[in-house]
Amino acid sequence: MALRAALALARRSLRTTLRRPQFLAPLLIFPSLFLAINTGGLHRSTDLPGFPHVHGFLDFQLSAAMCQSLMLGGVGAGIATALEIEGGFFDRLVASPIPRVSIPLGRIMAGSVIAAVQVVYFLALGLIFGAHIAAGVPGVLLVLVIGIATGTGFAALGVMLALRARSASTVQGIFPLVFVVLFISSAFFPRKLLSHPADWVAAYNPLSYVADGIRDPIISSITASTVLEGLAAATGIAAAGIALSVVALRGRLREA
C-alpha cells in the first residue's frame, strides 16, 4: 500500500510540476545560462598549469551545471511541499488511510525522475555544443546514476525543510545557499587549483565529490576511486535526506 500510494503521489507531483513551468524552467534555464557564461568567459582556464586534461572547458563545466540544477530541483521540491502544507492539501493526504511516510516519498520519487531529466538535458545540451563524453555509454550511465541519487537527496532535503518551515517563502529563502554550497565545492574549478582555505572547505563538501564523480566519466575514462567517491557522496546525501525528511514528518505529526 505504501508503494502504491507513493507512486500515485509521485505521478501527481510530476504532473503538477510539468503544469507549473515557472518552477520547472529555472531548473534548466539558470544553470544553462551559467554554463554558457562560464564556458564563454573562462575557457582559457584549461591552460592553467595543473588543470585536468579536458577536450574543452564545456566538458568540465557540465558537471557544475548539473549540480546547480539538481540543487535547484531540491528547492523546487521543498517549495511545492510547503505550498501543499499552506494550502491544506497536505492535511488531506495525512487524513487518508495511507502509510504517512509515502507522502514525502512520493515527492522525493518525483524528484528522482526530474533529476534524470535534468541530467539527460545537460548531457544533450553539452553534446549539441561540442562536448564529448569520454567514457561513452557506460560513462553516461554512471553520470545518470550519480545525478539521480544526488537529485533524490536534494529533493528529500527540500521536503525536510518544508516540513520544518511550513512556509514556501522560507524554503525559497535558501535559494542563495545553493550558490554558496556550489562555490565552496569543486563544481566550478578543480580542487587542486583552489587556494586555501577554499580547497580545505571543498574537501569537506560532499558536493565536491558528487561534482568530481559526475565529471570524471565526461572528461576521462572512468577513474574507479573518483566515481565511487561520487557515488558514495550522492548516496549519502540521498540517505541522509530521506532519513531527515522522515524524521521531520514524524516531528510534524507529533506536534499536531
Binding site: 500515485a8 501527481r12 494550502g87 491544506g88 492535511d91
Partner: protein
C-alpha cells in the same frame, strides 16, 4: 454502537489556549449531527481531533468504533473528510484528483476509473471532469471535495463548514446531497455557523461556545426549551391599547406593547391560536394591521445558553462569493 462517542475531549495548545474544554457527545449511526457555534468556538479543532489530524490532550474519542488516539489508521479507513475551505490541487483536473483519492483509499486499480466517474457524476461535475480544478467555481470545488470524501463509501462523513462562502444555489445543492447521504444511512458530522443550515439538515444539534457544549438536542426540542412561539401583532394606530390588553389577556402571557400598538403574545398552541386571537380582536372592534407567528430560533437557544447572539451566524443565506464563482456551465445534481 454509536458512530461517534466522545468523552471529556480536550485540546490545549502551546501557550495554554484551551480550544476544546472537555466535551462529551454521542452521534448515532445514520444521524446528521450539526455542530453549531461561532468562529473560534472550537468546532474545527474538535473535527480535526475526530479525523485524527490533531492529537487530543485529554479525554477520549471513538469514531466508527476506533479510538482516534490509539487507532488512527483504522479511523481514517472508515471516515470521509471534507475540511473547511476545500483543499484541492488547483493544477489537477477533477478526474485526476478523484482517481488519486481512490488510489489513496486502496480501491483496486481496475475499479478506480469507474468509481471516480460515478462520484463525479453524482455531484454533477461530469462535464467539468477534465478541466483543472483552478477553473472551478466555489460551489463546484465544494462538490468535488464532497465527492472525494465519499470515494470509499465512508461510514462517517465529516463536513467542516461545507457551505461557508457559497452562493445560495450552491448551498442548497450541497444540502440536498447531505440529505441524500442521510437517506442512504451515512452518519454525517457537520460543523456550521449558519443557524438555518443546522435547522434544515441536522437530526440533532450540539451548540459549542468557548470550547464547551452548552446545549444539545433536536432543533425542535432545543427551541421548545427556550420558549413557546409567539404572535407579533400590530393594531391600527387609533386603537385603545388598554382595551386591547384586556382582550389579549385571555390568550396566555402577553407582554405590554413595547412600541405604540405592537403586541407580542406567547402562544403554546402555535398556529392554531392565530384564528381565536384575530376573532377576539375583530369582535372587540380592533383593526389588525399586521400579524406574524414567530417561532423560537436556534439563536434564541444560543442567547439563552450563553447570553449573547451567535456571532457571525446568519439565518438568511450566507453571502455569495462572487470572486470564487467562475462563469462556468455548471451541471445540476444528477
Amino acid at each position: 454502537m454509536p458512530a461517534i462517542e466522545v468523552q471529556g475531549l480536550e485540546r490545549e495548545f502551546k501557550g495554554g489556549l484551551r480550544a476544546v474544554d472537555g466535551i462529551d457527545l454521542e452521534v448515532a449511526a445514520g444521524e446528521v449531527y450539526g455542530f453549531l457555534g461561532p468562529n473560534g468556538a472550537g468546532k474545527t479543532t474538535t473535527v480535526r481531533m475526530l479525523v485524527t489530524l490533531l492529537r487530543p490532550t485529554g479525554g477520549r474519542a471513538l469514531v466508527a468504533g476506533h479510538d482516534v488516539a490509539t487507532e488512527p489508521h483504522l479511523v481514517r479507513k472508515r471516515i470521509g473528510v471534507a475540511l473547511q475551505e476545500a483543499a484541492l490541487d488547483m493544477l489537477m483536473t477533477g478526474r485526476e484528483l478523484m482517481e488519486l483519492q481512490a488510489t489513496l483509499h486502496g480501491i483496486p486499480p481496475r475499479e478506480v476509473r469507474d468509481r471516480a466517474a460515478d462520484l463525479i457524476g453524482r455531484v454533477g461535475l461530469s462535464r467539468a471532469a477534465e478541466r483543472r480544478v483552478g477553473t472551478y467555481s466555489g460551489g463546484m470545488r465544494r462538490r468535488l471535495d464532497l465527492a472525494m470524501a465519499l470515494i470509499h463509501a465512508p461510514e462517517v462523513l465529516f463536513l467542516d463548514e461545507p457551505t461557508t462562502g457559497l452562493d445560495p444555489t450552491s448551498r442548497i445543492t450541497l444540502w440536498e446531497e447531505v440529505r441524500r447521504l442521510r437517506d442512504e444511512g451515512t452518519t454525517v458530522f457537520l460543523t456550521t455557523q449558519y443557524l438555518e443550515e443546522a435547522d434544515q439538515l441536522a437530526d440533532r444539534v450540539g451548540i459549542i461556545s468557548a470550547g464547551r457544549i452548552v446545549a444539545e438536542g433536536t432543533p425542535a426540542a432545543l427551541k421548545a426549551e427556550v420558549g413557546r412561539p409567539h404572535l407579533d401583532l400590530t393594531l391600527s394606530e387609533d386603537a385603545d391599547l388598554d382595551r386591547a390588553r384586556e382582550v389579549l389577556a385571555g390568550f396566555g402571557d402577553h407582554r405590554p406593547a413595547s412600541e405604540g400598538c405592537h403586541f407580542s403574545i406567547a402562544v403554546a398552541g402555535g398556529a392554531t391560536e392565530i384564528a381565536p386571537v384575530v376573532r377576539a380582536l375583530d369582535e372587540a372592534g380592533f383593526m389588525v394591521a399586521s400579524l406574524e407567528l414567530v417561532q423560537p430560533t436556534l439563536d434564541d437557544v444560543f442567547v439563552e445558553k450563553t447570553g449573547h447572539h451567535l456571532e457571525g451566524a446568519d439565518t438568511a443565506a450566507p453571502p455569495a462569493a462572487p470572486a470564487q464563482e467562475a462563469p462556468v456551465a455548471d451541471e445540476a445534481l444528477a
